[in-house]
Amino acid sequence: MSERIALEVPAKLSALSTVRMVLGGLGERLDFSLEDLDDLFLATDRLLQAALDAEELDHLRVDMVCGDGELQVAAGSFTSAGLRAQVAVTPGGCIDLCTLLRRLLDEVSLEEHDGSFTVVMLKRGSGNRE
């Protein structure tokens, strides 16, 4: 049975600590390994940092869904075309945001909503990876 947590924090770097703590608590309940959590922390940090760099935001909205051995994290809504490109496209052979997210997570996708978008990231615990 899935559990949904919605978190809204001020749009500043220091607030990422709060996001990590909530993610950590959920990951702990899912028996995520330390490395699973570290990957998730890093991916979330990099995405939200990029969002803060790309857009004038008042708040960061992060929705988390705790499923069966996996944690889905959705961050948005964003409107920056630059951020969208960073998340969606990689020219290959680069450690850019797109590559980072795909290396650190099991799934990454963009959900579009009338000109804005949400980045949806999925991390499975290493014991639950296909």
Partner: protein, 310 residues
Amino acid sequence: MSGRDDRRVNDPLDLKAPPGQARAFSAEDEDGGIASAGPSADPEGRGRDDSEKLDQYLLRRYHLHGDRQAREQLITMYLPLVRSLARRYASRGEHFDDLVQVGAIGLIKAIDRFDLSRGVELTTYATPNIVGEIKRYFRDKGWSVRVPRGLQELNIRLNKVIDELVPKLQRSPTIKELAEAASATPEEVLEALETSQAYNSVSLQASLNGESGEEDAGLIDYLGSEEEAYDTMEDRTTLAPGFAKLDKRERYILHLRFFEGLTQSQIAERVGISQMHVSRLIRRSLEKLREEIGDLDGSQAGRFPGADDR
């Protein structure tokens, strides 16, 4: 003993030094700590007495007569000891020169607080003072924000526990396993891990980022049998935008993580450092990369030339 009388005292401070003051106390002789700087390095074993006499003489000059030059000479004389002790801690990520400066404060405190009536050698008294000052520096300066001592200690304990559990479990431990092994709650573990973000990771990479040959040699030691693979990677990354700001180990670790697909534990084993250290180095390297290439076109960001041809 005949050679002793032949020595000429070179006393720039014009102190009336006792006989036997040896050239071994020269300020230039700083390569091996007090052992080689002082007479204890004398192969004939004659130096120790000389050392004690000179120390006591200078200490007396300073404490009984307020001779500041004697104090300065003591400081100069014992700087090799400071360097020797600082070198032991240089691999922990702080700049060696910073550690020497901090250690020198411990030395000065030891000289100032030295009690002539106690009859101990200055080396004996100064060593714990110097080490204590260096340790205090790590404790206080190693954290970019103030973190409660309990959490710092739990974090240190977790580093050890992780190093023990990874080979035992053959995988990265869960938070529950860490909590159990560290005699803490999962919440405390998470909090300690979060506070580790506050640790000054800037300094972590510095241990192998220095300019001395000794530190470079340490890097080679870390790389071990992977040197050949490292060289191949190096050819590519030296041309990558932003990567010039990373040191060799940082480039190597990023390559292993993001292009070879190794886990942190696998990298830790290969490079010979802890998994936590790998985690911090990855974060720091990515941050440096981000800062460096911030103004570059995204398509060039942190590009490994040829990496997509693999």
